[in-house]
Amino acid sequence: MLKPKQMTRAVIVGHKNILEETVDALHKANLFQIEDYIEDDSELKIGKPFGNISEISKKLIKIRSIGSLLGVEDVAAQRQDSSKILTDLDDRLNQLDAEVNAVSEKKTELEAELKETESLKKELIPFTNIDLDLDLYHGYEKLAVFSGYVQENVEPAISGITSSYKLYFDPKNSVIVLFVPKEKSEEVSDALAKALFKELRVPDVSGVPSSIIADLEKKEANIVNKIESTDAEIEELNVKYADFILASNELLSIETEKSEAPLRIATTESTFVIDGWIPTEHYDDLQITVNTATNGRAFVSSQEMTSEDEKKVPIEYDNPKVSSPFEEIMDLYARPRYKEIDPTTLIFISFPLFYGMILGDIGYALILLALAFGIKKFVTSDAIKPLMNILIYCQISTLIFGILYGEFLGFPLASIHTDHGVEAGLIAGFETIDLFASPIGGEMFTFPVHRTHLVMTLIVLTALIGVIHINIGYILGFINENKKHGFSAALFEKGSWIVVELGILLIALGYVGMLPIAAGVLVFLIGFVMLVKGEGIKGPIELPALLSNSLSYTRIIAVGLSSIYIASTVNLIAFEMIWEPGTAIGGMTIFAIVVFLFGHALNTVLSIIAPGLHALRLQYVEFFGKFYEGGGRKYDPFGYIRKYTEEK
């Protein structure tokens, strides 16, 4: 539970003509992680892939490109018989390829046509307000035609040069079309240059621009329609072939993986050596699997684990099913190393605990619980499930603390006794029960715990929780260090911190007069010297972290209070500022309900993010910092979990 799974290094040796059977059996067993062989100067060489690998990968690429073109998604589908798919794979693939090609070519053509029309339209737009047939723009012997943008009206300048001209001017777009005799064209062009003339290309079509554009728009709508119908065809193909594509993709992926396996294996002229890792509990299964597949002709043996091996053992978690969702949280940080404590089970307790202490509200717990169960039911993704399980654990803890705090969506359930009198709670007649006077700040400890009225006590309490949590971390660190570098290293590196803390505690006791203060100082100094010996100069520098780390746990109350304040502000705005409960129902009631729903929806989202992140941070920074190294390699066995196909 607190350790990763025991692993065994196994070596499989055999004659090359049974390699294929062996690889096949290993792939089916999905247990053995093959260690890639790296060629060195020895006689052993990397093996050659089986069969016609290039043919298979060609098909795989084809099926994948078709899949992405059709937008086939990973969905739950009925399992199909793999041998049946294999027999008519080629025919169906070719047929599918032809169909898809036809449709996609059609679509590409249509899209190109659409683009062409659009660019022609763009060219025509400047000429729309000039009512001239485009044929009239060219084909003259004695006339020069200018068409383009200008910055100002050029009519006066042109009339100064010649009286025989024809000018069309569109002031809206500042476009001119000007006809002048050819002999004047140079003078005119100089005059136009002064007006910052920018020539426009005349599109190579005939007709009046405005009517051409109207035609083009009709054509465009037509093309868009056609594209939509091709999209529908693609969708049809998707529906028709999705199962086949998913199944054959899986099958071909498995084939490629198997045929490429020899590239990871050491071989000689006639033998092969497969080196790798397997969880110790499955070692016997491996032997049986390989022996049955090869009629006992391959030899499986386990190897002694060297200290060099320990650095590269693949790590597989070994946790009970209840706490296994928290492996996700561990992976987010780093996998443990082989000889290290796997803190997943500890996080399974402390993460929901802190989350619940921060949020602690019955209303939000119920909303988020419903949300988590809903998502778990309707989303089948494998990545979402553990996250939802974590959320459910957290909400159960939130519900418990919600009852303890007596809070529902920011409303107190029980009445609150303050200096200014009694404030009624949500449940009529539910009186706060005084338990005992808290030693801090003259506050009264009550049930339910009104967090807003017990701030001082809770700040100290959460800091104390922090001290306990951190010390658990130091103890784990001690165990880890003891395993890795022996007892004395553990004592000086991790034990010293506990001695230092003890010293501080004794000094505090001395301060209130229960002990001679010198005793505390002495213990503190002993711890300090041990720390310097264990960690060098780094130790004393990190001493203040002891304080800041434990104070960091006060975020449990601080973040919780901020969530309460947001919720009660929403309630205040909704029920006291815009609608007084007990008055007649009117427009303001509806507005109040909208404010209430929107505000609490927002706070619900914040209720996942803020407590989650802070509870996580307390684990990662404050807790893990004391003992955890991590950096283990993920156990990734050679094999495949079939989702769409089955072998009969």
Partner: protein, 80 residues
């Protein structure tokens, strides 16, 4: 004859000063966290663009300066 000046005229309301102090504690530490998180966040996103596996580490690093504003909040709670 001039009236004797009473000392209460020049006094400020202690509750108001407390509120200002608490506001400063939360506001300034909030700014400080924001500045620190800005730098870390941009770097973390840059790192994530290269390697998506760094999401967890980036997230943790980004939340670390949040302690500053939490301390500010605690101080504000202590004052008020």
């Amino acid at each position: 004859m001039a009236e004797p000046v009473t000392s209460t005229i020049t006094m400020m309301d202690p509750a108001g000063l407390q509120a200002i102090g608490a506001g400063l504690a939360v506001g300034l530490t909030g700014l400080a966290s924001g500045i620190a998180e800005k730098e870390i966040g941009t770097a973390a996103i840059g790192a994530m663009a290269e390697n998506e596996g760094l999401f967890g580490k980036g997230l943790i690093l980004t939340v670390i300066p949040e302690t500053i504003v939490i301390f500010g909040l605690v101080v504000a709670l202590l004052i008020s």
